[in-house]
Amino acid sequence: MSEPVRRAAPVALVVAALLLVWYAMAVWLNAPQVIERLDGFGAPWGARELVAATWSMERPVLPAPHQVALNWWQSVFDADIDSPRSLVFHAGVTLSATVLGFVLGMLLGVLIAIGVVYNRVLDRGLLPWIIASQTIPILAIAPMVVVVLGSLGYPPLMSKAVISMYLCFFPVAIGMVKGLRSPDVLQLDLMRTWSANGPQILAKLRLPAAVPFLFASAKVAIATSLIGAIVGELPTGAQAGLGARLLSGSYFGQTIQIWSALLMASLLGVGLVAAVALVERLVARAMGARA
């Protein structure tokens, strides 16, 4: 077998097993409601009718995978892109907040990291607090940030981005501190023999050395940024965004809608991480890394 097949086969096997379990679960979880309805019709029914009915309910406890896929397909390709029925529209709203928060978080994280590496007080005093800040459920502030900034007249995009930024900056700051400190003494001494000053050492040695660390952190950061944007959409009663779609689905018991929003969010997350990985590869090649 060729290499890609050898690697993909087990994954396909596990995915197939998961889908089988899912279909079985759908029968099992939806059966009580379906049986009640079938009994109500009075007509005799067998296993075939039961299974068919559990996989095609309008508001199932657990929708079958093909129902989710169909709903996803319809709300992506059949709906107008700027109508609230379109998942592309909602994903776009969430995506803009995610990316804005990600960019702000990267900037903040890099700045903090440079401060920590170059300043002893920040290193000793601030760094422990940055680490401690991660034990704070920052996401819990999300509703407050959105409501408070909203009441001050800021658009929801800004408040969601602030939450995402808050979640993003930590992995970036920690990764960059590690990266900026990764040049060893020999390299630093070499820079000194060339009488390089602080900014020069930063620009020509420390920052390039930190790039792999930056991208490793960025992949974590963009995933958390997406979570931040989605959670930020929950409390506003927002009309747009994947989080709002989840919330309205849960209000009206539209389970298929929830699952297809989840599918969209997952695809968005995977796509964003893949995009960062692609940029990483391009940058690495531009910096002369061997493939």
Partner: protein
């Protein structure tokens, strides 16, 4: 080390801080009318920086190492208090620390049951999620096919906002804590799985060969070599998950909960603009989160004392 070189500035810092606090909380003018005070504050910050710098230079035991961050944290809270009160920042925007403290005390009868409700969900979900992650990792390690199939999917799960599963769990398990525990369990499962698998792969060929020369089977190699060397990774997952479980339980409460729970309290009090109570709830969960993390870190020290990160 000459103690008075830090002791004296520290004394001045505290006295000036006390005086400024009194001025700000008094009945006098506020905001830009307090011109002299803000100049004094600028000088205070400079002196603070000097003291922090001296403290940061000092070599010493753990207690000395803790001094700089402790002072830094206290100073941040102090500045927060001084600026918020001095500029009369609206309470809705940012309540002063003393207001948060007052809310924490005066609403304790409400906040404590909230905390207990959420804590039960977090602990139950954490235990189930971490336990399941560990067991599945052990199974996947035993059967190579399962591992090659699961690992890419588990890595993919890191990019997926799993917490979005919350509304579905609320539908399945009802409004009470089991639905929050379910979300916490699912969210904590994947980090544990990935980390444990990485940990089980962390032994080198020499060590495994040595076990083979002892004629140790899979079970004995696992118990005596591979699980112990996977422990740092497992504890890493336990630490990551402690915060994750707390966050996901609180977020799950936004989707529907009985009228008790930290997430419920936060969303309810935000709607009423009682921001000081919200901050009190957050302070409480932050405290609980840090303690949870601290307990796990302590246990980690006891179990992985041999690891190089503790022996330096």
């Amino acid at each position: 080390m000459k103690r008075w070189r830090t002791g004296l500035p520290l004394l001045i810092l505290v006295l000036v801080a006390w005086w400024m606090l009194g001025v700000v909380h008094g009945d006098g003018p506020k905001g830009s009318a307090l011109g002299g005070l803000w100049i004094a504050l600028a000088a205070w910050v400079l002196l603070l920086w000097f003291v922090l710098d001296t403290l940061a230079r000092q070599q010493g035991g753990r207690a000395t190492q803790m001094l700089a961050p402790a002072l830094f944290g206290l100073a941040l809270i102090y500045l927060w208090e001084l600026l918020v009160v001095g500029w009369q920042v609206p309470k809705v925007l940012l309540p002063a620390p003393h207001a948060v403290g007052q809310a924490l005390v005066s609403r304790w009868e409400v906040l404590w049951p909230d905390f207990r409700q959420t804590a039960v969900a977090v602990l139950a979900g954490y235990a189930v999620g971490c336990g399941a992650g560990l067991l599945v990792a052990l199974a996947a390690d035993r059967f190579g096919l399962l591992k090659r199939g699961l690992l890419p999917l588990a890595n993919l799960a890191g990019a997926v906002p799993i917490v979005g599963i919350a509304p579905i769990m609320v539908m399945w398990f009802g409004f009470d804590w089991p639905s929050k525990a379910a979300v916490a369990a699912i969210v904590t499962f994947f980090p544990m799985l990935v980390n444990t698998l990485a940990g089980l792969a962390a032994t080198d060929a020499m060590q495994r060969d040595l076990m083979r020369t002892y004629a140790a089977g899979h079970g004995a190699t696992l118990m005596k070599l591979r699980l112990p060397s996977a422990l740092p990774f497992v504890f890493n997952a336990l630490k990551i998950n402690s915060t994750l479980a707390l966050i996901s339980a609180i977020v799950a409460e936004f989707f529907g909960s009985p009228i008790v729970g930290l997430g419920f309290r936060i969303s309810a009090e935000v709607a009423r603009m009682n921001v000081d109570v919200v901050w009190a709830a957050i302070a409480l969960s932050a405290l609980a989160g840090s303690m949870f993390y601290g307990v796990i870190a302590t246990v980690e020290r006891a179990f992985t004392f041999w690891h190089s990160s503790y022996r330096s």
